[in-house]
């Protein structure tokens, strides 16, 4: 028989006899005749491991791997080798949600550690066990704000990543919440506009840091405005930058969310990653998803368990504030191991290297005379340049040189016609940056 089916002929015979039927098909008598699937699937026959390996290697080869100078939500950061080794342990990989805590302390403990790490980086009081991705976590934060404030409108900064914005739009539209966009002026959320838009119907103000253009906005000011009118501040922050940038807590955020891909998770075409979510103590019972807590076992030993489950869908059903069931547990383990490896010193060093590389690249590009920083605002590892060079020309030249970067922003809005985005992580070398500049400085239009 097939390698994943252990039934021998003798087994089948004995089992059918025990069940009291002649054939396996007799077990499907409840399936109406017209529905019983008679034919074979129109699928090719079973492939051997050797054949599959060859086929998939060929497919993998059709994906080109570039020296990555692109960001916009997914970054080419350092992945310590211990991560892939540890996450592939079957005890972590093949287990399910820790419903039996006595035999799932491994999972529960790393979730507890993950929550602790998110807590300290965001500065918030408590984090949940993770969400699907940063975009869906942001949408769920809006639902949470609605549940806390009983208000129905979310003001979203125009500097939010357009993909995150699109997901938030979909979620809010179907849930029946109102969304208004706060205009962006010179790459930043307009505080003046926000002031005029805030009123007693606004549940939350949603901003991103660093924003879509890589700019580190002064979120504190925006948060104060929100709070003055009784709205919450939801801050979507790149978690990898929080060892060096003001934390959502320092900014006055009520809910902190974002994606954790930048913490040791491969780019992998954008998934799987995970979304983090953290809040203040008084809102913990409104958090969606799993939460792990510390307790004691019957012998007084420290132990971990899923807690505050009365919030969740399996108890509250249609009254639940979120329908999320599982988390992205294994991805939370990536993050936990990554942060254990990096520590505060490593995170700061990685950010410093990214900062230096990004600013060096920005200066070199400006020196070509063909690029100008689109918005002269503080940035860390990501920035947007304005250029008169056609973006197709830039893109083609870079791809031919084995580089993916200068992502054209034109497709995200007509205001962005001449803008291209770059990201530089700690992985990029001087030679790679110089190579990129050399490729672009020869271009003309």
């Amino acid at each position: 028989m097939f390698k994943y089916f252990p039934h021998t002929e003798a087994d089948l015979e004995a089992m059918l006899a025990k069940v009291g039927v002649k054939t396996i098909d007799d077990l499907f008598k409840d399936v109406p005749k017209g529905v019983f699937f008679q034919r074979d699937f129109d699928v090719q026959a079973s492939l051997s491991e050797v054949e599959i390996r060859a086929k998939l290697k060929e497919l993998a080869a059709q994906n080109r791997q570039y020296t990555c100078f692109a960001g916009l939500g997914v970054y080419d950061h350092y992945e310590p080798s211990v991560i892939s080794s540890l996450i592939s342990r079957q005890e972590f990989l093949t287990a399910y949600t820790p419903y039996q805590p006595e035999v799932a302390q491994g999972t529960l403990q790393y979730i507890f550690e993950y929550q602790s790490l998110i807590q300290t980086l965001t500065g918030m009081d408590a984090a949940n066990a993770s969400m699907y991705d940063g975009a869906t976590a942001t949408a769920e934060a809006c639902f949470m704000a609605e549940a806390i404030t009983k208000r129905k409108k979310i003001l979203v900064s125009g500097t939010l990543n357009p993909n995150t914005m699109a997901v938030v739009k979909t979620y809010l539209h179907f849930k029946g919440l109102e969304l208004e966009m706060i205009p962006a002026v010179a790459g930043e959320t307009s505080a003046t506009a926000l002031k005029h838009m805030l009123d007693a119907s606004v549940a939350a103000v949603l901003i991103q840091k660093p924003n879509f253009f890589g700019i580190i906005e002064d979120c504190q000011k925006l948060g104060e405005l929100a709070h003055e009118s009784g709205a919450l501040l939801i801050e979507n922050a790149d978690i990898a930058t929080l060892a060096v940038l003001a934390s959502p807590r320092e900014d006055g955020a009520d809910i902190a969310v974002g994606d954790c891909q930048s913490l040791g998770i491969p780019m992998a075409f954008g998934g799987p990653t995970l979304g983090y979510m953290a809040t203040l103590k008084q809102h913990v019972r409104k958090l969606p998803g799993r939460i792990c807590g510390m307790s004691r076992d019957a012998n007084g030993k420290r132990a971990f368990v899923l807690t505050l489950q009365a919030r969740e869908q399996h108890i509250r059903r249609e009254k639940a504030n979120s329908n999320i069931c599982s988390n992205q547990s294994l991805m939370a383990l990536y993050v936990t191991i990554y942060l254990s490896v990096m520590g505060e010193a490593g995170l700061k060093e990685a950010n410093e290297l990214s900062y230096q590389g990004a600013h060096y690249l920005k200066d070199r590009l400006e020196a070509t005379g063909k690029f100008r920083l689109a918005y002269a605002k503080p940035f860390l590892k990501e920035f947007v340049m304005e250029t008169l060079l056609p973006s197709e020309l830039i893109q083609k030249a870079l791809l031919d040189a084995g580089i993916f970067g200068a992502v054209p922003l034109a497709e995200y809005g007509e205001d962005y016609d001449n803008l291209v985005a770059f990201a530089v992580t700690e992985k990029r070398t001087k030679a790679e940056i110089d190579g990129l500049v050399a490729t672009l400085e020869g271009l003309s239009w």
Partner: protein, 493 residues
């Protein structure tokens, strides 16, 4: 062996490190240039450990976990089948792991081809027309499916249809998904053998009904034998049928949701298609629909033309529901699994899973209360021990199983019976394993009669004993910071 009981934070020593990064290569740039107001001021509570500290710590805590390769994991409704290693190997290939989702389509043809091929395979296997692989999990698929249902009615100008019928036996995610999609769940009762009550269904149908969500086989492991009548009634009333694919494993190769009249479906790739559950995720919950509904599938969409693959955003779509293409490396593993099984084994799968469940059911029905007689599908549900006089509850039986090296079945679900035990053996388990499990279950039934205290205080051999869940909810120690604060408070008293 001494039980390891440290937190990673408790290994920390100032100055230790586990990372190595390149040296700075340019002078003249420093983050101190950033305005002080934008920089972090508060302290961080991160561990400082060596690389061996990290590897030993996580290896040690992993040993407190039960995985499928540790032993039999008959968690009902979760389809804990063997997760083949080949998928892991393929998903780790650099050509899949190192691609950026914003790369031009021409440079990610391999990934897009897998997207297109897999969505076609799922369409053939389920009997639907087209799929999106973007949804991240089963519950996410439900939400996306209901958005499609709602958008379909709205586009026809039918704004009244905002209610979704859900059987009382449904997973909690069903009614919760309806709420999040901005609809209202209408619960209908099950009939005495656990199936949809046709009279209750008819009474609920009307011009405010957007559709119905159904798991088939249902959460009791029973096939809805009136399925054709159910879908006919709902369609006649103007509603759409949503198939919750949680239990698809039972019928794989024997019946297809599309042929039963379902219009929208999600499939849990981490159940039926063998991708690892990862301690609770990442999963993958592709959504499939009939031809008529294809335009509603979420963005981004992938299309093939002349052997080339394109990505596009459709204005007709419900919108975007994920940052990019969903859990790519998860659906990649499902693709490998389907290639591996091929036509012949896909056909046999559901039958073997169902045979395994029936074998367990028949072998245990003398000692455990079987509330619904007859053939079950891929899982069987008991209502606790047959002998109720011992005071031993389902929870105790589950904990005692852990002592014997088995993971516990799902307990207290479905909610229809007070002492539910739901056993799903899956097709990857052998008769030997099932026999060992059955013998243990019978042994526990004996123990319940002879030494009930032994069972009531189980487990006795696991890394920890039963946990004080009330204390966890009361104290709310949700981070290391909370723990330190609580410890200081204890110290003061």
């Amino acid at each position: 062996m001494v039980t390891y009981d440290k937190l990673i934070f408790e290994l920390s020593a100032p100055g230790r490190r586990a990372y190595s990064l390149p040296k700075p290569f340019v002078k003249g740039y420093a983050m101190t240039e950033l305005p002080a107001a934008l920089r972090r001021k508060t302290d961080l509570l991160l561990p400082e450990v060596s690389e061996l500290d990290v590897t030993r710590h996580y290896s040690n805590i992993s040993r407190k976990n039960f995985g499928i390769e540790t032993g039999f994991y008959p968690l009902g409704s979760c389809t804990m089948k063997y997760n083949p290693k080949l998928g892991e190997e393929i998903a780790a290939l650099p050509g899949f792991a190192n691609i950026h989702p914003l790369q031009p389509a021409g440079s990610v043809q391999g990934a897009l081809m897998v997207y297109d091929e897999l969505q076609k395979l799922l369409a053939e296997i389920s009997g639907l027309a087209c799929f999106s692989l973007n949804p991240y999990a089963g519950a996410h698929g439900e939400l996306v499916g209901l958005m499609i249902m709602k958008a379909y009615h709205e586009r026809r100008g039918d704004w009244r249809r905002t209610k979704v019928i859900v059987p009382d036996s449904a997973h909690g995610t069903n009614p919760a998904s309806a709420t999040v999609a901005g609809m209202q769940a209408v619960e209908i009762r099950s009939n005495p053998d656990g199936r949809v009550d046709l009279a209750a269904l008819k009474a609920a149908l009307g011009d405010d009904i957007a559709g119905m969500m159904l798991t088939n086989p249902n959460t009791l492991g029973m096939f809805e034998n009136d399925i054709c009548e159910i879908t006919r009634l709902v369609h006649e009333a103007g509603g759409l049928m949503y198939y919750d694919g949680a239990n698809l494993n039972a019928i794989l190769g024997k019946a297809r949701p599309g042929d039963m009249g379902f219009d929208i479906i999600h499939i849990n790739l981490h159940k039926t298609f063998a991708t690892p559950h990862g301690g609770g995720g990442p999963g993958s919950g592709p959504v499939g629909v009939t031809r008529e509904l294809c335009e509603f599938l979420p963005n981004p969409q992938v299309k093939a033309s002349d052997g080339h693959y394109y990505v596009f955003e459709s204005a007709e779509a419900i919108g975007r529901i994920s940052a990019f293409y969903g859990n790519f490396r998860v659906w990649l593993k499902a693709y490998v699994y389907i290639l591996s099984l091929g036509r012949e084994n896909l056909k046999a799968l559901g039958g073997l899973a169902t045979l395994n469940a029936n074998y367990v059911k028949e072998s245990l029905k003398d000692d455990y209360e079987l509330p619904i007689a007859g053939v079950c599908m891929h899982e069987c549900v008991f209502d606790g021990l047959k002998d109720k006089s011992t005071g031993v509850r389902t929870l105790d039986v589950a904990k005692r199983l852990l002592d014997y090296g088995f993971h516990a079945p799902t307990i207290y679900f479905p909610l229809l019976f007070p002492q539910s035990i739901m056993i799903e053996p899956t097709e990857t388990e052998s008769k030997q394993t099932l026999d060992a499990f059955i013998a243990t279950m019978i042994k526990i039934a004996r123990e319940a009669a002879e030494t009930p205290e032994l069972v009531k205080t189980a487990p006795h051999t696991t890394p920890i004993s039963r946990i004080d869940e009330v204390m966890a909810a009361k104290k709310m120690i949700l981070s290391y910071k909370d723990y330190l604060e609580d410890r200081d408070k204890q110290g003061e008293n």
